[in-house]
Symmetry: D2
């Protein structure tokens, strides 16, 4: 079965995207990356010296033959900062790809949807392939797409919370309404089933970092995530059974209310 | 990593157990069994002619080189019926293994815990390896073990409901309190994430049937379940990150209340 | 609107039942009882000297003009103990009412359903009005009723946990299947909405103790519970709106899956 | 106990706000309003002829001695429309109060947070008391307050869905971070317990319409809502017990994850 993720014309066999922060050490990060099967790795331009490719540098530990590097604008608090950071990333890495973050609150790291729309518009016009990480909001999603986003990345829960998907209703509606670009769930994943659930909802992919990097055994958790993304995607494509209160109940409970679809 | 399931001294590499009912046809069943990786397959003694091994019979479609056949006493409504059915299964199949069902309600197929304890006691004394499917209840669980159960099989939700785990609290407590025999979650699974969640809770395995047999694409759902059981087990062993309201929140939300642990 | 609770022919205007344990002091208990509007108060025969009616005794602080005293067999671990304790209560209090507890596990205080059925049978034959507190199980519920229970009291969650209703599926099925005796949810309530939810599910009443007694302000929490029981009952009788994913969605989401009905 | 809601210097004894749409008839609406105890009633300026006070008009059925009329800008799809509609309402009703709606999607009626911020800024400068209904988003909440909102009204779920609170995490964070203006939960309530839960989370009030207007018995559901708001508020003030897995569990489960706090 060929079932690839395509973003901006590029094909990925894996629907998992992974990060580089918070690992106990770079060897562990590399092992986790391998175990994850991810073909996209995101790097915070403001935290990593992208130009440093020397032995022992973070960049040295990334397997760029297998993985697309996706620079991100973490720690940018305005559209302007994010735009500048994206341009810098393109210059150093010679890539149009950017995971766009405009943070609106220091404590929770919630995104600033307005700032994201503004920055997406500017960057898309400059030829960037923009993947904005945003607060789950249908109206903002449409504006991000109008502004040129190549995919949209709603949060499941606050960054680094590990809470898993909080708002099934909004994500279901996003999936129902948005079909022109991929939806990648980003932020808030805590464990493997969170990933499976996102995929069972019909999401196109998942980006995660803390859940793997701060697990007790990051490479093993990365392998769990690899299986989870397959499990969830296959279950989605396989067409699940209807829910019933019990097997002989007269009517199926098709709807999912405030819970997983 | 060696991480096998051991029940009554027998080792299984897969923690998934699978059924034989409700498939559209036997070819599809066989394909699903293969895709699942399951090494245990359960068969309803009262519904299947176990003696019939002719071409085209259900038994003919089971890959018994790879899978242990686990006869079950579905459709038995008293301990006596279940005991008789277990003996019949042993006679025909020459196996001491029995998945014990004593059904207490025709509509919901809820188990009769009292009948199960009684039948387990009799059968265990006769040398059966008894795996009772029971209503999630700590006090009943201890009595089943005292009566000689080789593993216990609490339900996640009513048979055939597809609702996934309903009572996280009871299952968490079962896991905390019961460590001398394996706990296999049985009944109520609807999709892959249900399996992953059960495994993340530290359960030893999952038995399912309807979720695969009545999916739109049973072999694909079976493959999803294979990945899900790996995902959940690995995530459990990998040690998940703590939950927080947001990344910089002062205290982790370690407990999981009325929800997944 | 007349909407009373009737158990064994006795009519109660309030559907709330309340306990006597864990209060900081007896004055606070009395104030909470008054604020709750409860007409049934339960007392642990093994913990309270029922014969002591002197000033300052617990019994002295109960408003028995307004409230029916419902002795309970807390801390009884066998049917025999519970039967003996019920008889003792009847002797001292001259009441046939008994809230029957047979505890099956010291740590979790989970009930022993088998012991309860046995004790219910004996006590009902002796003319007791038996209200057994049991583990939510349809098959056991039917046996309790066959044994002569005047009402059944499934737990919402472990005693003293404050978790609220854990298994909506089992309680929904109990409500659908059991219509010949009242169902009183007992144990596990943590706050007012837990009570409202139980009533919205069509339960006939709620018994609680810890949630009020160990709140920071017990009389205020008792008043909250009084309102909650009214709110939930009225909402049940008023017939709630159907759920929809959004207002103009084509099909209502009538079923409630793994969640509140 | 004095525990009033104060918005823009005006004191309300009831924390419930109610609507006027979707009732079967105006008599039923009036009866429901009375039963609710609400002191704020919202009216859609674009749907109701506010100038018509003749016998039999909607305005004639509002008890304006007891209730503050809160005009709303429902069915406005741009900031400009909403601003114009607010000015019109002020002219006719001679009130500075406005429940601000800028709808961003016709199907789901999700709010347009950007449009709301813009309209709030303009209207607040003109002396309006602006209560914006918005998509639950901390960054937008802060901007609404900076723009001059007198209270903020995050949605619980899509308007008319009846799903109850979907995102406990975002609402908990809003409550933790926003203390300078009241938070009124608006939209998505389906039944009484939804209201109790919102109040238990520390919200300052709840606005609802469909849940009462389309219940089978609107006045009875309105009475349920009145009790629910009291129940939830009192429970919040009373300080609930900690959650534990079971009563003797060593550590309380204080955090509530992806669920009610």
């Amino acid at each position: 079965m060929t079932d690839n993720l395509v973003i901006a014309g590029r094909t990925f066999r894996s629907r998992l995207m992974i990060g580089t922060g918070k690992y106990p050490d770079l060897e562990t990060m590399r092992a986790a990356h391998r175990a994850s099967g991810a073909e996209v790795v995101t790097v915070a331009v403001r935290r990593v010296n992208l130009a440093d490719r020397s032995a022992g540098s973070l960049m040295d530990y990334l397997d760029l033959d297998r993985m697309l590097i996706l620079p991100n604008t973490a720690a940018c608090y305005t559209a302007e900062e994010a735009i500048r950071t994206a341009r810098l990333a393109r210059e150093i890495l010679d890539t149009p790809w950017i995971k766009l973050e405009v943070i609106g609150d220091e404590k929770t790291l919630f995104p600033d949807n307005a700032g994201l729309i503004e920055a997406t518009r500017v960057l898309a016009k400059e030829g960037f392939i923009v993947l904005p990480y945003f607060n789950d909001d249908l109206v903002a999603a449409r504006r991000l797409i109008d502004a040129g986003a190549a995919a949209i990345m709603p949060l499941a829960a606050p960054i680094g919370s590990g809470l898993g998907i909080q708002n099934f209703t909004t994500l279901r509606i996003l999936r129902e309404m948005i079909t022109d670009v991929p939806i990648i769930v980003d932020a808030g994943v805590g464990t493997a089933s969170d990933v499976a659930i996102a995929m069972e909802m019909g999401m196109d992919g998942v980006l995660l970092n803390t859940a793997v990097a701060t697990a007790q055994n990051p490479p093993l958790m990365a392998a769990a995530m690899k299986h989870a993304i397959e499990a969830g995607r296959m279950a989605y494509l396989a067409g699940r059974m209807p829910r019933r209160l019990y097997a002989s109940a007269s009517s199926p409970l098709d709807g999912l209310i405030g819970s997983r679809p």
